[in-house]
């Protein structure tokens, strides 16, 4: 692996490490453009939502509920719950980029999406000696690629406005994207255990309203992973004694 020497190089490393996700972001954001126009939103409305929120799943949720004539308050709450997972991303990023200036952190928060989070944290874990400034540059590199595609393809989808044929099964691009994000993160037995427990709990609690099952499952995964790590540590300590 090439050594990162400058902040600039770190930025472009992030930029290219995130490149594979263009495959997912393009159809997904176009789909949002199409769905939003189908629901009766105009171009300005569609783009404002995409730029202000940049969180696909919650945008789909909000538009779907508003089209179903749900009260604003309910649509808002449901969409926010979908985004609650990002509080966990925010916390997980603190040890790596918490040193940045307040305004920089605010910009990082605005740009926080699943792909950038997963790619960045994986790199931070792989390179514990990465200088803090490079970590910040790397993070922005990730988003510098994803973000324009997100805005641009939503716009394209909204302008073209033609339904993407259902036979393309683009709905499946979402789980495949998250599977591709997960696989490289499974670096130890506790990681595998956490993933397994989280998946199982997500199925068991899928009946909860407003995708609260996701939150329950994710928290279960965190606890499972942490407990597995503690268990292995204790066993190792015993073995050494």
């Amino acid at each position: 692996m090439r050594e990162i020497t400058t902040t600039r190089a770190a930025f472009f490393k992030g930029y290219f490490d995130c490149a594979p996700f263009i495959l997912i972001v393009v159809p997904y954001s176009m789909l949002f453009g199409v769905v939003a126009r189908d629901a009766g939103l105009d171009l300005l409305q569609t783009m404002t939502m995409t730029v202000l929120v940049i969180a696909g799943a919650s945008q789909f949720t909000a538009v779907a509920l508003l089209s179903d004539q749900a009260p604003v308050f309910i649509a808002l709450l449901a969409a926010l719950v979908v985004n609650l997972r990002m509080a966990m991303y925010s916390a997980a990023l603190v040890p790596y980029v918490g040193h940045a200036r307040f305004s920089t952190r605010a910009l990082m928060a605005y740009l926080m999406v699943d792909q950038a989070f997963a790619v960045a944290v994986r790199t931070y874990e792989d390179r514990p000696d990465m200088p803090p400034a490079h970590r910040v540059a790397y993070y922005f590199g990730c988003m510098a690629l994803i973000c324009p595609f997100w805005y641009g393809c939503t716009f394209l989808g909204a302008v073209i406005g033609e339904a993407i044929p259902a036979s393309l099964s683009l709905d499946f691009a979402v789980p495949v994207c998250f599977i591709a994000l997960t696989a490289p993160l499974l670096r130890s037995a506790p990681h595998v255990f956490a993933a397994f427990v989280a998946a199982l709990m997500a199925l068991a609690f899928a009946w909860l309203p407003w995708s609260l099952g996701l939150i329950v499952a994710a928290l279960s995964g965190l606890i499972a992973g942490a407990q597995a790590e503690l268990f292995l540590r204790r066993r190792k300590a015993k073995g050494a004694a």
Binding site: F21, M86, A87, M88, Y89, A91, V94, P95, A202, A218
Partner: protein, 109 residues
């Protein structure tokens, strides 16, 4: 039809709310370090959130009306196994490729 006032109110509040969720810990903690127990748990955020998102989408896809679709399960497994060995881009290709190939070969399933 979506009411214009409803839309703008929702979009504004959703934008602010989502930002606050994202900024929460980064904003408050900054360079102060999180307690050890928190750091221990936070290592597992990615491996917990992503499988929890994926599992219901693969088991009960909306596109099939929530019915179990063996093709999607096989395609998800393919994406996973290839992802473990070859990385992101091949994982995506394997997942979508397997889905399309099986849908083409087994149109009645």
């Amino acid at each position: 039809m979506i009411d214009t006032g409803d839309f703008w109110l929702l979009t504004l509040l959703l934008g602010i709310g989502t930002f606050l969720i994202r900024f929460s810990f980064l904003g408050i903690f900054g360079s102060r370090s999180l307690p050890d127990w928190a750091q221990l748990h936070l290592k597992y955020v990615g491996v917990s959130v992503f499988p929890a998102l994926v599992a219901p989408l693969v088991m009960w896809p909306e596109a099939t009306g929530g019915h179990i679709d063996p093709i999607r399960i096989v395609a998800a497994l393919a994406a996973f196994l290839i992802g473990l060995r070859f990385g992101v881009i091949w994982s995506i290709c394997a997942g979508m490729g397997t889905l399309y190939a099986l849908q083409f070969l087994l149109p009645n399933l």
